[in-house]
Amino acid sequence: MIEYFTSREFLVLMAKMVAIFGGVMTALAYTTLLERRMMAFVQMRPGPNRVGPFGLLQPLADGLKFLLKEQVVPTNANVLLYYAAPIVSLIPALLSFSVIPFGPDLKITDLNVGLLFIFAITSLGVYGIVLGGWASNSKYPLMGAMRASAQMLSYELSLTLSVVGVLMISRTLSLAHLVTSQQGTWFGFIPRWNIFLQPVAFFVYVISAVAETNRLPFDLAESEQELVAGWHTEYSGMKFAMFFLAEYANMVTVSSIATILFLGGWNGPMFGPCWLQMALPTVWFVSKVFAFIFAYIMIRATVPRIRYDQLMQFGWKVLLPLALANILITSLVVALS
């Protein structure tokens, strides 16, 4: 036992955990800044640009402010669940990073059911929202929580079904194997990414992912005109920050899965000296993920929110049949070839 804790593998694993956790947390903090600056840019206003050069220290200032704020608990709130909800929402969101391969070696572990593990973990995240809304004992949070639970349940179906086609082609559930199965090119210049084989699945996945992370145009759970701030109306300070971080962590997770499943993960052109070859896969992975995040931010800035009944109709009557048809056609092609 003791030998294991001083062995080289253990120390390398610990170093990886620290690197990934630190990297992800920093990335999350700066995603908030990116989102605020981008939104401001679209809306022709400067955005947060006072703290540090170009506002680059804004996330630090925000973090400090969240920590120092007074802890407010509403009267008649269910205190235990009120405190537990942000934790319940943040832990699953961060836990999913334990199986995501950021590079050929930069991953904490590789489960043979890695993809399903992420789906399982993220499906628990809805409890944070639901409990937060219920425990606040206030009408807007309750409405938001109910909408969130119905919405996430509906879109989880199309999200999960949309990846089945990819899994049938790659014949694996391990995220590392999914990435290696997309190495190489067709005709010498088209990369062997699954997006070219499964464009419909990609379309369904990306839309369901926006709905799963409760972002515009599907952010009915917190739509501010109707519900003040939805399920986190009564939250402030660090507890609100945890909800906020969980939302961004989920965004990064769904973008990472989209990258791994459809855009070849850390695959990309390799060139340059040895140290560059080591770093390039992670650079490709991170830039693909940030391309998705950038798209999410742009969608939020430009697309208006849809109505609740439209949301449900779209999920059940458009996305779900599309995902099912995609599975049917893909399985036919796979069986015949």
Partner: protein, 162 residues
């Protein structure tokens, strides 16, 4: 190490299952149910059945209990004070039925034998898919038919004028 973890999660699962029954408030019962399901999933992982563990969380903890909680919040049920009195006779029916269930589980485990489940490949998605669509295809299809009928029944109930 694995033995200790197994006992720990087994105790957690049993404790949470008892808590589901003991709690007066339905919401606490459902939350306890989630803890129980997650603990059972941990047991599956320790038995090297990762696929089963993950599916257990996705289907039950991630979807079905969310629906329970959704309904509880929708109806905003008050704390159930007198419900136990109304169902008092169930206690007496429960003891023999529970013993019968224990007997059934014991008999099954006795017949199957514990050693056969420890082979390497049983928990993998391939192995489960293979056995579902070859050896157990009839029970599998019958179960899906049953679920389909239940679904159609739910739709019929939900429609006001059929």
């Amino acid at each position: 190490m694995i033995q200790i973890l197994f006992l720990l999660f087994a105790a957690l699962a049993v404790g949470a299952a008892i808590n589901v029954l003991v709690q007066k408030h339905v919401l606490y019962s459902s939350l306890s149910l989630i803890v129980m399901l997650t603990a059972v999933s941990a047991l599956f992982i320790l038995l090297q059945a990762e696929f089963l563990a993950v599916i257990n969380v996705i289907v039950y903890a991630g979807a079905i209990v969310v629906l329970f909680i959704f309904v509880i919040m929708l109806l905003n049920l008050p704390v159930d004070e007198d419900g136990t009195d109304r169902l008092r006779w169930l206690k007496f029916a429960g003891i023999p039925l529970g013993l019968f269930l224990l007997f059934l589980i014991g008999a099954t485990v006795w017949n199957v034998g514990v050693a056969s489940s420890s082979t390497q490949m049983t928990g993998s998605p391939e192995a489960i898919g293979q056995s579902l669509f070859t050896d157990y295809v009839l029970p599998f299809e019958l179960t899906s038919l049953l679920i389909l009928i239940a679904l159609m029944g739910a739709v019929v109930f939900a429609k006001k004028d059929v």
